[in-house]
């Protein structure tokens, strides 16, 4: 029997007996990310939907100056709240999401047919309030447009002169492509799955072996060290791959627990997708296993290796972060891949040089 195969079998057998390793590889690693993903997305969707339908309370200052506008707001689900003393400060300190101020001059300007001003006080850095702001703005715009149309009609003109240009939007996105926003997070989760899966073995087969003082007797056997390394790398890769496979399967199941159709998205992961992903990830898994083994082999103890590998986990986050800052199109991706073919992935090279 080949020595590398013997080492491989022994490492797999020994680590399958370690409950912590098995739990991490087969349960925590692959399942944690999809569960967090489902909870996060579900929470996000639920909140957005709830907000769109719920009455929106808005403090209005000077409501008495514009009774018609206020009536219109009420009809559109805005709950008019009592005015507050210092609206700017209230918004800054997040006591209120947004405040509408109608100045005294409103009524005068309106009756003269001049542009009447209302003030919308909000904080654009408050992500949470963005939906509400857009909603109120939409209602105000609709009111302005309707009033404008009525005024033009009253002067005996066609309202169409107010619209010299009509933009018709033709959105070419499909439910699948809208889902790609969510898909863009998947590579990171998959790589993370492989990382967590390989971690325990990468440490156990190197720093662990050194710490329990079994490396020296192992090297006394008439086996080339390269073969021992291949066996160990193989075992680490297989665990990483198993973790990845479970991760992909978990995500394909997770898609069914998300109300993606409510957002007009589709997140279907079929057999084709699973096998294609596995195939593309295969070289990466081998590289992750090699990288982890390399880093752990430098460590003198289990704990030290754990520290190194935890730091290593940030490495796969780099491309995902870059992608969210510089969104990738398909052409970009192809060009980047060709670049990779010429040189090793830039984000991995510093660790290899170490």
């Amino acid at each position: 029997m080949n020595a590398a195969w013997i080492v491989f079998l022994k490492e797999v057998r020994e680590n399958l007996r370690d409950r912590r390793t098995v739990l991490n590889t087969l349960l925590t690693g692959p399942l944690m990310a999809p569960i967090i993903f489902v909870l996060l997305i579900n929470g996000m969707i639920a909140r957005e939907l709830e907000k769109a339908e719920k009455p929106l309370p808005v403090p209005v200052i000077g409501a008495e100056h514009a009774p018609n506008l206020v009536d219109m707001l009420k009809q559109n689900g805005i709950v008019i709240e009592a005015p507050i003393a210092e609206p700017e400060r209230a918004v800054r300190e997040q006591d209120a999401d947004l405040v509408l101020r109608i100045p005294e001059s409103y009524a005068k300007s309106w009756s003269k047919g001049e542009p009447a001003q209302v003030e919308l006080i909000y904080d654009a850095s408050q992500r949470d309030a963005q939906g509400s702001i857009a909603r109120l703005q939409g209602i105000l715009d609709a009111y302005a447009q309707r009033s404008g149309t009525l005024r033009v009609l009253a002067r005996g003109l066609s309202p169409s002169i107010l619209k010299p240009l009509v933009v018709a939007t033709r959105d070419q996105s499909t439910a699948q492509s809208r889902g790609s926003m969510m898909f863009s997070m998947l590579p990171y989760f998959f790589i993370l799955g492989a990382f967590i899966g390989g971690m325990a073995l990468a440490i156990d087969t190197t720093a662990g072996e050194r710490e329990r003082q079994s490396l020296e007797p192992l090297f006394a056997n008439p086996v080339k060290r390269s073969k021992i390394l291949i066996g160990k790398l193989g075992a680490t890769s297989v665990f990483a791959l198993t973790s990845l496979l479970l991760s992909i399967v978990a995500f394909s199941l997770a898609g069914q627990f998300m109300p993606t159709e409510k957002l007009g998205m589709s997140l279907s992961i079929g057999v084709h997708f699973v096998s294609l992903t596995l195939l593309t990830m295969l070289p990466l898994v081998a590289m992750i296993a090699a990288l982890q083994t390399l880093a752990a082999a430098f460590a003198k103890s289990f704990r030290e290796a754990q520290t190194y590998l935890s730091l290593l986990m940030f490495v796969p986050a780099v491309p995902t972060m870059l992608m969210s800052i510089f969104p990738f199109s398909r052409q970009h991706a192809v060009r980047a891949c060709l670049g990779i073919a010429r040189s090793p992935r830039p984000e991995f090279s510093p660790s290899i040089q170490k």
Binding site: D18, N221, P222
Partner: protein, 244 residues
């Protein structure tokens, strides 16, 4: 037979081994005696090809360790200073793993396991996982796996280290047993009594150099004393780092 010729090994400025030569013959027990830090472990590590000497040669049954390390390792049974077991494997599985790495087939491994189990009296621990083994049980398992391929030459680095009196006695008995089978037994120790009682030949190492290489009786004659202990102290120059 193990022949060591003018071995040198330095770690930075520290000369750990500085010109060590000796020969360990078949059917004899050769003891490597020296205080802690004398260079015994480093010398042995170069013998079983874990380290490469800066200078000098190691021949095992006439094979140069530098030229053909794999064949040399095949002919050696090694109990290193580090004797960690795989805790999640049973004693038998630990031995089996090394047997396979030595290239033995299953039937041979099974026969050897039985023989070693009997010789080392490890009947009840064979199927137990090695986690929680006592020091003695650990050493027995480590020796069994080191000798699974029935090597002609046995190198043991401080085999009685950490063992209690009974286990030490059993270990000495086992070394004699290996000798009676015609093997070349080389072990290191810093315990004078042990070396004196067991060895056919004693190589005394101090500060990385061989300071004496003789049979116990000759050693006594050289130092002109009846007491082996005094003889050791005399050739080494001090009793520091030795144990009675």
């Amino acid at each position: 037979m193990i022949e060591v010729q003018d071995l040198h090994k330095a770690f930075g400025a520290v000369k750990a081994v500085d010109g060590v030569s000796f020969t360990a013959r078949d059917g004899e027990i050769t003891g490597l005696l020296g205080p802690n830090g004398a260079g015994k472990t480093t010398t042995l590590r170069m013998l079983y090809t874990l380290m490469q000497p800066d200078r000098g040669r190691v021949l095992v049954d006439g094979i140069d360790a530098a030229a053909d390390p794999l064949s040399v390792r095949q002919r050696l049974g090694v109990l290193p200073d580090a004797r960690g077991l795989y805790k999640r494997l049973s004693a038998r599985e630990n031995i089996d793993y090394f047997g396979r790495l030595q290239g033995l087939d299953e039937a041979t491994i099974a026969t050897r396991c039985e023989a070693l189990c009997k010789a080392l009296d490890m009947g009840e621990i064979m199927e137990r996982r090695s986690e929680g083994f006592s020091q003695g049980q650990r050493v027995k398992t480590a020796i069994a796996r080191a000798l699974v391929h029935d090597p002609k030459n046995c190198i043991l680095d401080e085999p009685t280290n950490g063992l209690d009196v009974m286990a030490t006695r059993a270990m000495r008995e086992f070394l004699r047993h290996l000798k009676s089978e015609g093997r070349c037994v080389l072990f290191s120790s810093h315990i004078m009594q042990e070396v004196g009682a067991l060895c056919d030949r004693i190589v005394v190492i101090a500060h990385g150099k061989v300071v004496a290489d003789a049979a116990p009786d000759e050693l006594r004659e050289q130092a002109a004393t009846d007491n082996l202990e005094d003889a050791f102290v005399k050739v080494i120059g001090s009793a520091e780092g030795l144990a009675a």
